[in-house]
Symmetry: C2
Subunit: 124 residues, 2 copies
């Protein structure tokens, strides 16, 4: 699978994928005889994981740490789990922000609708 397909499948940009490889999040990706990257299903699963973690606010350094731990084998299960649990906490915080923003926007939109009607009803 080449990079454009990997990008489409993982919901990352091709630039971001190259950047992540450069940062060492992914092991160096295999290359075809043309020098182009060939992504394995395993690479793909990593990219999708990175996409989800980043999209919800995990810093790159932390994703790197997680990837390094995964390379280190079964001795790191506990630390890896703890990292994911810490990120679950971040999800909850994000959720709270979304909820707060949603209720504010719902009200403001309602208010604007009222104001627009008022303006429309003005004589003149």
């Amino acid at each position: 699978m080449k990079i454009a397909e990997a990008a489409a499948a993982s919901d990352l940009s091709v630039d971001t994928i190259r950047f992540y490889e450069g940062e060492g999040l992914l092991d160096p990706v295999a290359r075809g005889s043309d020098g182009h990257r060939r992504f394995s299903p395993r690479d793909l699963r990593w990219l999708s994981l990175f996409q989800k973690l980043r999209a919800t606010g995990m810093p790159l350094a932390e994703m790197k740490r997680y990837a390094d731990l995964a390379r280190a084998g079964e001795a790191t299960y506990t630390e890896r789990r703890e990292m994911l649990e810490a990120h679950q906490g971040r999800l909850a915080a994000q959720q709270a922000k979304i909820d707060a923003c949603r209720s504010l926007l719902d009200e403001k939109v309602r208010i604007y609708r009222g104001l627009e009607e008022e303006v429309a009803g003005k004589p003149g």
Copy 2:
């Protein structure tokens, strides 16, 4: 109200508040005789709004546009409402990302727990 209090109340940093004023999101803030900023309740409401919008991914340029429209008066009600509605769409997208990440993490954490037990149960 001075800047540290405004920061605590709006959940922004003092640096971010100064930065937002510099970018013209806020009208120039009143100053005391000591040259320090004095934030009005109105400033505070704007800052809280900006905090909520930024925390959920609205770009600065868009918040600036919204603030400029608000300065322009009632002729801009409709455009302002449409901007907020567009942001409601962003909230939904964020929500989807959080949900996708949450279900992945729930599963991964469950799996790690199983693996940790397995390792713990090994002889030797």
